[in-house]
């Protein structure tokens, strides 16, 4: 059942390859059906969320070092799976407006393959499987950037993305090998292994470096602005919405439970990185002049907050971190898609080149307002719920770091308003060679609407998600201290 879910997008991708390129409507139909079908199937997993885990294990490799084909979904990974399937639907739907029809098929195939690798990663219960998907998911993005954005700067961004992340993957590989030399199995999730403290630190450092690069976290984010900016918006919606959570997922499921002592040892460093990310991302977003890059930097800031939640080690901030991950996925995807719609209309995302779109596109304005306010952390929207619950939890154990992180609330207001007002307000301006922008079409309204509905829903009732994240999950239990009120 879980395997079916994981490979379903790949099957649909294969099906797409059997359809002639020219038959655009059939291609679109199959791709959307694939995304919707995967989402529908993943909803079946929702009931397993609060209780335990669903898993499937088959033998894979015997011998001196064992590995199994082990897929599993538990109360934490189910949210990553659902986020993936939920965001792929609008991403695939948004890709319909890809400008070159001849290459639409290849692009849709890559999107579905990307979903497959992500689902594989989030369901992997075996370290070998995890590692394979970890590097495999670079390929669809790389190919999409090289072949489908098709500009010299996009190609540069693609290589930057690939090399930087492969370097991270290499370090992870070294860590995995060193780990397996001691455990003699890739089935590490349910066992506890006595590592010497020094070894534990080295292993944690290797895992953490890879995870930090993929998230990315300051100062390992050099690949991010270019890759996010050059990607087609439907792709970056998934990269930022889902793929950026792969590293955080790795922390929650592998690094923290496997190396609890090393996690404690490195916690101050990780917290410093988290706070730096939070503030640095916010400041860069304030100075940024391109709408898409601005959203990218805001991502850096918000994911730093999740890192803070993980390494503050308490039962409030950890589930809130998952909430924040889902919420950020929704918000980032919505914003990137909206910014993409703007780009389709004005031909640019440079804030200096256009503005005042609210005058001609009132529906776009309402959508931008909701997404922008969610980034700003307006109470009542999901961004606030995640942020607040993380901060109130983290403050109990790490008041100093959290106090620094609080500055981001104000800085977020500055850059969110820059984005919102820079694109929407002021006198109407568009580049000279562009016709007056049209308002959002029904397809565009429809594909972003579910994201906005969820942003509202999670903002008004975060407990719906929060209560389904097991605070005392065995994966995170070792490192976590229960906060008692004084």
């Amino acid at each position: 059942m879980i395997s079916v879910l994981v490979f379903l997008p790949a099957l649909f991708a294969l099906a797409l390859l059997c359809v002639p390129r020219a038959n655009a409507s059939l291609l679109k139909g199959i791709a959307l059906a694939g995304a919707l079908g995967t989402f529908a199937l993943s909803c079946v997993l929702l009931p397993v969320a609060p209780a335990g885990a669903a898993q499937e294990v088959s033998d894979w490799i015997h011998g001196a070092v064992g590995a199994a084909y082990h897929v599993r979904v538990d109360g934490i990974s189910v949210w990553f799976v659902l986020l993936t399937t939920f965001l792929t639907v609008p991403a695939v739907w948004a890709a319909f407006s890809y400008r070159d029809l001849a290459r639409l098929r290849g692009y849709l195939v890559l999107l579905l393959l990307f979903e497959w690798t992500l689902l594989g990663l989030f369901t992997a219960g075996d370290l070998l499987l995890f590692y394979i998907y970890w590097d495999l998911m670079l390929i669809p993005v790389f190919l999409a950037l090289v072949a489908f954005a098709d500009t010299p700067s996009a190609r540069r961004a693609a290589w930057g993305y690939l090399i930087y992340n492969l370097a991270g993957g290499l370090v992870l590989l070294a860590g995995v090998i060193a780990l397996v030399l001691h455990t003699h199995t890739f089935e590490v999730l349910n066992g506890s292994f006595p590592f010497t403290p020094v070894l534990q630190r080295w292993l944690f450092a290797a895992f953490a470096l890879a995870f930090l690069i993929k998230t990315p976290v300051f100062p390992f984010h050099a690949w991010m602005p270019a890759a996010y900016t050059q990607s087609p918006s439907s792709l970056v919606a998934i990269i930022s919405g889902v793929q950026s959570k792969a590293g955080l997922y790795g922390f929650i499921v592998f690094a923290l439970p496997l190396f609890p002592d090393a996690a404690q040892y490195f916690a101050p460093a990780m917290l410093v990185l988290a706070v730096c990310s939070i503030l640095y991302g916010a400041l860069l977003a304030i100075a940024e002049r391109n709408a898409k890059t601005l959203v990218a930097y805001s991502s850096l800031s918000h994911l730093g907050l999740v890192l803070l939640a993980l390494f503050a080690f308490n039962f409030t901030s950890l589930p809130a971190g998952v909430l924040m991950i889902v919420s950020h996925g929704l918000i980032a995807a919505a914003l990137f898609l909206l910014v993409g719609f703007i780009e389709e209309r004005t031909g640019t995302n440079e804030l200096a080149a256009f503005g005042g779109l609210a005058a001609v596109a009132p529906r776009l304005w309402v959508y931008m307002l909701i997404a922008g306010m969610a980034v700003l952390g307006l109470p009542g929207l999901s961004g606030f719920a995640g942020e607040f619950l993380i901060l109130i939890g983290a403050w109990q154990t790490q008041p100093v770091y959290t106090s620094f992180a609080l500055f981001t609330v104000v800085l977020a207001a500055v850059y969110a308003l820059r984005l919102l007002q820079g694109t929407m307000h002021g006198p109407l301006r568009v580049p000279a060679d562009v016709p007056p922008p049209r308002d959002l079409r029904p397809r565009e309204l429809g594909l972003v609407a579910p994201l906005l509905v969820m942003i509202f829903f999670l903002g008004v009732w975060p407990a719906w998600l929060n209560d389904r994240v097991p605070a005392q999950n065995p994966a995170i239990g070792h490192t976590t201290a229960l906060v008692q009120p004084r």
Partner: protein, 643 residues
């Protein structure tokens, strides 16, 4: 009947929300007037239900006056370990009812007023949607039963205020003003969040009931910090020092917005917050004193600036700031009922002043500069008389509403034994009378009309009727508190039952009232002398006090100071990080690794000659070498090591 109103309490909150959603979703498909009708109707229904609920709640005994509504369909907002449950309850008690009455009542009048004030605007429907959204969030703010939902309402009114300040979004000034207002409000949100962090740490809860029930268990220093952080939220929302600079700029919004949000309701949310959190301030005297000092200083500070402004709405904005300073002073002094009382009367006369000014602005085609007005009393008599009522009321002239409420506050400050604050309030009272009548003289009297716009007549009934109602309320609104018969603090008695400071305003200090009245009259007289009888006096004052005048005109240069102290460094830092650090450090890290890789690559490249035989030979030699090592070195070592 009682059960009906108590059961319908959630509807009070729901009607404006449904109204806003209906206008937003269906507005484009119906007539403009239908949007306005929906907007007014939803607020009207809320008002009726609020009045009904008041008639049910106020007669009850104090113990029964606090009512919680329970949501049946959803559990709670969040459940944090060990037992922090943030629920969805609504709280109805006399304090929130007072605010709800003003929000829906004055809100209804201003909605009706807007029907014709905004009639020519192209975003007419949007305006009503935003206004309804504002009323919803403001009601949420005062009906919340915990600090989290208060914060949700708090942020919501900030959003509505942002949207309405920037309502004319094609004007860059309005866009900037909106941004400034929202950012300053967010600073306040951080304050409330910090206060909640402390409450969670010390009480494990953020609901009013639990926090206020356990104030005794929180240490004084923590309690003081909670009070200070709440005050940060309050000063941001209520435009008190040092976060006051956004309010004058907020006057870029349409005038009904200024009347509703930036005079009558939203900016008093800070006062509500302090009054609501009074158990904290009762037990943290240092925090309470800070509240009083902030209020007192702001009252005087804003009043001095109001004396020199020329934009009619900006004068009113500074006057709002100053009057809210009075309210903050009252709640800081512990006289919560007096603060609430002044909130109520201020809502009447300040909304009245804004709406009368709106009639003038409307008639002059958008002109707001009082130097281009004058002599309008004969052309706009209705606006003149109603504005005059408002001015008399705010100046504190007997028997208008402002006299009673301001008197209650000054009386409380006198009991506080805080001489500076007492002097501040009295001086501010005189200044208030002065700048309001300066406004009256320059706008409506003093020679002939100086502007170049055509003066339209004031005929729309929807504009004049609400103004007239407010004028009547500005006269009689203060009579709820009369000497020896204080109805208001009686109504509020259950909320402030445990406050140490005596809440009753019934013991009337005749000499004090008379003295303050004389000072107000002196202020009016001076305005008359300087602007009506001998205008050259004002000109001479202006000349001789040029430096002071510049200082006041620029609002003590707060904008400039903040620009260089906060805005500029942050932007410069951000710009430096983007242009220098990002390129030289962040991008250099992988570039360095790449360069190192390329260097080692070039070293090994020398062996790559392309001659296959060379590769083969290297391979053979290497293999032979390994074999040699394996056979003789490694084995020999093992053999030698073996015992």
């Amino acid at each position: 009947m009682a059960d009906f109103f108590l059961g319908a309490v959630p509807l009070i909150l729901l009607f404006p929300l449904v109204g806003a959603a209906t206008i937003a979703l269906f507005g484009p498909y119906v007539q403009r007037s239908a949007s306005a009708f929906i907007g007014c109707l939803s607020i009207g229904l809320s008002f009726l239900l609020t009045v009904g609920t008041s008639f049910v709640i106020f007669p009850l005994s104090p113990a029964q006056q606090t009512l919680y509504t329970h949501s049946k369909f959803v559990g709670y907002w969040a459940h944090l370990p060990p037992d922090l449950i943030i629920g969805f309850r609504l709280l109805i008690d006399p304090l929130s009812l007072l605010w709800m009455l003003i929000i829906t009542g004055v809100g209804l009048l201003i909605h009706v007023y807007s029907v014709s004030y905004m009639a020519s605007d192209k975003n007419y429907r949007t305006f009503f949607a935003y206004m309804n959204l504002f009323v919803f969030t403001m009601l949420l703010l005062v009906m919340a039963d915990n600090f989290l939902w208060l914060l949700v309402g708090w942020g919501g009114v900030g959003l509505a205020s942002y949207l309405l300040i920037g309502f004319y979004y094609d004007r860059p000034v309005a866009v900037l003003a909106a941004r400034k207002a929202l950012i300053m409000n967010v600073i306040g949100d951080v304050g409330i969040m910090l206060a909640m962090f402390l409450m969670y740490a010390h009480v494990g809860s953020v609901s009013y009931q639990n926090v206020f029930g356990h104030v005794a268990t929180i240490g004084t220093s923590a309690l003081t910090w909670i009070g200070v952080w709440l005050l940060l939220g309050a000063v941001a929302k209520s435009a008190q020092l040092p976060l006051q600079t956004w309010l004058p700029d907020a006057m870029e919004g349409p005038t009904p917005v200024s009347a509703l949000i930036h005079a009558a309701t939203m900016v008093t949310a800070g006062v509500y917050l302090i009054a609501r959190a009074h158990p904290i301030y009762d037990n943290a005297p240092a925090a309470a004193e800070l509240v009083a000092v902030v209020g007192g200083v702001t009252a005087l500070f804003a009043a001095t600036i109001g004396c020199v402004q020329y934009d009619i709405k900006r004068v009113l904005a500074y006057s709002t700031m100053s009057q809210i300073g009075y309210m903050m002073l009252a709640v800081g002094a512990g006289a919560f009922a007096a603060g609430a009382f002044h909130f109520m009367t201020h809502a009447f006369f300040k909304a009245l002043l804004f709406m009368s000014a709106g009639i003038v602005i409307h008639a002059l085609g958008g002109e707001q500069d009082i130097r281009k007005m004058g002599g309008l009393a004969t052309r706009l008599p209705f606006a003149y008389w109603t504005f005059l009522v408002g001015a008399v009321a705010i100046a504190g002239i007997f028997p208008f509403a402002g006299f009673f409420s301001k008197d209650a506050i000054i009386d409380a400050v006198l009991k506080l034994h805080h001489p500076y604050l007492f002097v501040f309030t009295v001086v501010a009272a005189g200044l208030t009378a002065f700048y309001m009548f300066r406004l009256v003289f320059l706008t409506f009297l003093t020679g002939a009309y100086r502007g170049d716009h055509e003066v339209h007549a004031e005929t729309e009934r929807t504009m004049t009727v609400p103004v007239a109602i407010l004028a009547v309320l500005s006269l009689i609104g203060g009579w709820i508190v009369l000497p020896h018969h204080d109805e208001l603090s009686f109504l509020l008695r259950s909320t402030f039952a445990d406050a140490p400071f005596p809440q009753s305003m019934a013991d009337f200090n005749g000499w004090l009232s008379f003295g303050v009245l004389l000072i107000a009259l002196a202020g009016i007289a001076f305005a008359w002398v300087a602007y009506q009888w001998r205008p050259q006096i004002a000109a001479a004052l202006h000349r001789s006090l040029g430096g002071v005048h510049a200082l006041l005109t620029n609002a003590y240069y707060f904008d400039t100071i903040y620009h260089w102290l906060f805005e500029w460094p942050v932007l410069a830092l951000a710009q430096w990080l983007r242009d220098a650090f990002e390129v030289d450090a962040v991008d250099a890290l992988p570039a360095l690794a790449l360069r190192a890789g390329a260097y080692f690559g070039s070293l090994s490249n020398r062996w790559e000659t392309g001659y296959l035989r060379r590769y083969g030979l290297t391979f053979v030699v290497g293999a032979a070498l390994l074999l040699f090592i394996y056979l003789f070195v490694a084995h020999g070592a093992t053999a030698g090591a073996a015992p």
